[in-house]
C-alpha cells in the first residue's frame, strides 16, 4: 500500500472524498449568502438562523403532516423563503440607503430572535430526524464506506449550485438582476419592478439556506444553535471566494471543504482554525477575494 506523508493512500482518498462532500455543503450554504450580498449588498447575518429554520421546518412538516424528506425538500424552502420575503419587506427595505453595517446588525439581531424563539419552544438538545429510507445504507468503495446519503448530498448540491449560477449569469432574468444591482434607477426607468425583484431575490437566497437546512437535518443535529455554529465559517467561505461572486462561493466552498478534510487527517486539532487563517491571508493579499469583482 502506498503511503503519502505517513497516511495510507486509501485512507487519504477516503478523506478527500469526505472533504468534497463537506465542501458541497459549504458551497450550498455560501451560495445563498453570495446571492444576497452580490445582488443586494446586504450582509445576511441571519443566514445561519434561516438554515436552522429549514431543518426545523422539515421536522415540523414530518410531525404535523407526516410528509417526509422528499416533500420537505420542496415545501420547507418555500415556507422559509416566504418568511424571508416578509423580513425584507418589513425590516430590510428601510436600510438600503444606509451603510452596509446596519444591514449586518439588523440581520444579526434577527438571528438572535430566531434562535431564541426556537430554543424556547424546542429546547436546546435537538430534535430527531432520520435519513429517508430510500437513501439509507451505502456502498463499500474499497477505500471507504460511502453512505448513500452523502453521495446524494454531492449530487444535489452540485445541481443546485450550477443551476443557480446558470440562472444568474446566463439568463435574461439574471441579467436584469445584475443590472438592477449596478444601477437600480436606470433599470427602473426601463419599466422593471426593481423592488419586487430585490424582495424575491432575498427570498430566494433565504430559500437556499433553508434547502441546505433540510439536507442537513438527517445527518447533523437539528438544534437551535446549528446555524450560529456554522455561520462564521460560511462567512469566511464567502469572503475568501469574493463577496459578490457566485462562482467564487461555489468553488471556494468545495475547495475549503477539501482543505478542511485534509487538515482533519494531518492536524485535526487545527481543523476549525485553518479556514480563518486562509481568510486572513486571502484578505491581505487579494482583498476582493479570489474571484471578487469589487474591492
Amino acid at each position: 500500500m502506498i503511503e503519502i506523508f505517513g497516511i495510507p493512500s486509501q485512507a487519504l482518498f477516503g478523506q478527500l472524498l469526505i472533504g468534497l462532500i463537506n465542501g458541497s455543503f459549504y458551497a450550498l450554504l455560501s451560495l445563498g449568502l453570495a446571492v444576497i450580498f452580490g445582488m443586494l449588498n446586504i450582509i445576511n447575518f441571519s443566514h445561519g438562523a434561516q438554515y436552522m429554520m429549514g431543518a426545523f421546518a422539515a421536522y415540523l412538516i414530518l410531525q404535523y403532516s407526516g410528509l417526509g424528506y422528499w416533500p420537505a425538500l420542496i415545501i420547507a424552502p418555500i415556507i422559509v423563503g416566504i418568511t424571508g420575503i416578509v423580513v425584507e419587506r418589513v425590516f430590510l427595505q428601510w436600510l438600503y440607503k444606509l451603510d452596509h453595517l446596519y444591514g449586518l446588525l439588523l440581520t444579526f439581531g434577527l438571528a438572535l430572535i430566531f434562535e431564541g424563539v426556537a430554543r424556547n419552544y424546542f429546547g436546546s438538545a435537538g430534535l430527531p430526524y432520520t435519513v429517508p429510507e430510500s437513501l439509507q445504507g451505502g456502498r463499500n468503495l474499497g477505500f471507504m464506506f460511502l453512505p448513500n446519503y452523502r453521495a446524494w448530498v454531492i449530487v444535489a448540491s452540485l445541481a443546485i449550485c450550477i443551476g443557480t449560477w446558470f440562472i444568474i449569469e446566463r439568463t435574461r432574468l439574471g441579467a436584469y438582476l445584475r443590472a438592477a444591482t449596478e444601477n437600480p434607477t436606470l433599470v427602473r426607468a426601463f419599466g422593471i419592478n426593481v423592488p419586487r425583484m430585490i424582495t424575491l431575490t432575498y427570498g430566494f437566497g433565504v430559500a437556499l439556506a433553508a434547502f441546505a437546512g433540510v439536507m442537513a437535518a438527517p445527518i447533523y443535529n437539528v438544534s437551535p444553535q446549528m446555524g450560529s455554529e456554522l455561520i462564521i465559517v460560511v462567512f469566511a467561505v464567502v469572503v475568501i471566494g469574493g463577496m459578490g461572486s457566485i462562482l467564487g462561493a461555489i468553488i471556494t466552498g468545495f475547495g475549503l471543504g477539501v482543505v478542511e478534510g485534509l487538515t482533519k487527517v494531518f492536524f485535526p486539532e487545527a481543523s476549525n482554525t485553518v479556514i480563518f487563517v486562509i481568510m486572513a491571508i486571502v484578505l491581505l493579499v487579494r482583498p476582493a477575494g479570489l474571484f471578487g469583482r469589487r474591492a
Binding site: 425590516f91 438572535l112 484578505l283
Partner: protein, 322 residues
C-alpha cells in the same frame, strides 16, 4: 424699538457649551453615590464593560471602523492579568498593567493586518483574528480552557491597600474608569481626534490633504485595543476570574449592542449602553429563557428606529453634544 438678535452672533446657551462637562459631573456624582445604594460588585463590572464599550466606540463612532472582534483584546488582557496575579504573584496594579500591555500588543498586531482593508472586509478580518485567538485560548494550558482561570487574588494595591474590601476595590475601578474615559475624551477633542473624524467623513479627502491615514487609523486602533485591554484586565481582578466567555464572538457582539443602544459616536452613549445591557442581563434572570430574543429585538429596534441610541436621541432633541 425691538432689539433684533442676530442668530449668528447670539451666544449659545450654557447648556450647549458645557453639555459635556455637565454630563461628566452628573456621571461622577452618580458613580460616587451609587455604591452606597446598589451592590458595588455589580457597579464595578458595569464600569469595566462601560470602559470596554467606550474603547470600542472610539473606533466605530469617531473613526468609522467596525471591529467585529474586539473581544480579543478584552479577553486576552483579562487572561494575562489573571495569570499574572495568580501564577506570577503580581500585585494588582502590575497585573492590570500587564493586561493592558497585552491589549496594546494584540491591537498592534491585529491592527496592522486589518487596517489595510476597509468596511466589511475590515470587520471580517477582525472577526477572523478574534476567532483564531479564541481557539488558541480554548486549547492553551495556561488559560484553563473551559474552566478558565479561577481564584484570582485581589491582592494589595501598591502593597498597601487590601482590595478584598469591596469599597477599596470600587475606588480603584472608579479611578481606572474615569481615567480611561477622560483619556478618550482628550483623544477625541484634540487635533489628532479631528483628523480621525475627517477620515471617518471622507478618507480620500483626508489623504489628498496630506494625512497618512493608515498611520492615524493604526494609532487609533491600538489606543482602542489598549483601553479595551485595560477594561478586561481590571475586570479579571474585580471578578477574580477570566474565562472563554471573554474571548468568544458573542462578547464582541455584546459590545456592539451596548454601543448601539447607548449611541454610536457619543461620549456618554457607551457608558449608558453598558449599564442598560448589564441591568437587563441580571434583572431578566427570572424570565431567563427570553434573554436572547430580547437582545435580538433590541438590536432590531435600535437599527430601525433608534439609530442614534439613547444618548444620541437625547442629544439630538436637546441639540447639545453628548
Amino acid at each position: 424699538m425691538e432689539r433684533v438678535v442676530d442668530p449668528l452672533t447670539r451666544k449659545p446657551s450654557t447648556l450647549r457649551t458645557y453639555s459635556e462637562a455637565i454630563g461628566f459631573a452628573v456621571l461622577v456624582g452618580l458613580l460616587v453615590i451609587a455604591p452606597f445604594v446598589t451592590y458595588p460588585l455589580f457597579l464595578m463590572q458595569a464600569m469595566c464593560f462601560a470602559l470596554f464599550a467606550c474603547a470600542f466606540n472610539l473606533l466605530i463612532g469617531y473613526v468609522g471602523l467596525l471591529s467585529f472582534g474586539h473581544a480579543l483584546y478584552f479577553g486576552w488582557a483579562s487572561y494575562l492579568s489573571a495569570y499574572a496575579a495568580k501564577a506570577w504573584g503580581f500585585s494588582p496594579e502590575l497585573a492590570i498593567l500587564t493586561g493592558t500591555a497585552t491589549g496594546a500588543v494584540c491591537g498592534l498586531v491585529a491592527g496592522s493586518l486589518a487596517i489595510r482593508r476597509q468596511g466589511i472586509y475590515f470587520a471580517m478580518i477582525t472577526l477572523a483574528l478574534a476567532q483564531m485567538m479564541y481557539f488558541f485560548a480554548l486549547q492553551a494550558k495556561f488559560t484553563g480552557g473551559e474552566d478558565g482561570i479561577q481564584g484570582v487574588p485581589r491582592g494589595r494595591l501598591f502593597g498597601l491597600i487590601d482590595l478584598h474590601n469591596d469599597m477599596a476595590m470600587y475606588a480603584l475601578v472608579l479611578v481606572v474608569f474615569l481615567g480611561g474615559f477622560l483619556f478618550i475624551y482628550r483623544i477625541i477633542h484634540s487635533p489628532f481626534g479631528d483628523v480621525l473624524k475627517a477620515i471617518r467623513e471622507n478618507e480620500t479627502r483626508a489623504i489628498s490633504l496630506g494625512y497618512k491615514t493608515d498611520r492615524y487609523k493604526l494609532v487609533a486602533f491600538v489606543l482602542s485595543s489598549t483601553l479595551a485591554g485595560l477594561a478586561g484586565a481590571t475586570k479579571a481582578i474585580v471578578l477574580q476570574l477570566a474565562s472563554l466567555t471573554d474571548v468568544n464572538w458573542p462578547m464582541s457582539g455584546e459590545v456592539v449592542l451596548m454601543t448601539l443602544v447607548g449611541g454610536l459616536g457619543t461620549i456618554f452613549g457607551p457608558v449608558v449602553g453598558a449599564f442598560v445591557i448589564l441591568v437587563m442581563q441580571f434583572k431578566l434572570a427570572p424570565i431567563g429563557e427570553w434573554v436572547l430574543v430580547i437582545q435580538g429585538a433590541i438590536f432590531v429596534a435600535c437599527v430601525l428606529l433608534f439609530r442614534r441610541g439613547i444618548i444620541g436621541e437625547i442629544a439630538n432633541k436637546l441639540r447639545i453634544r453628548l
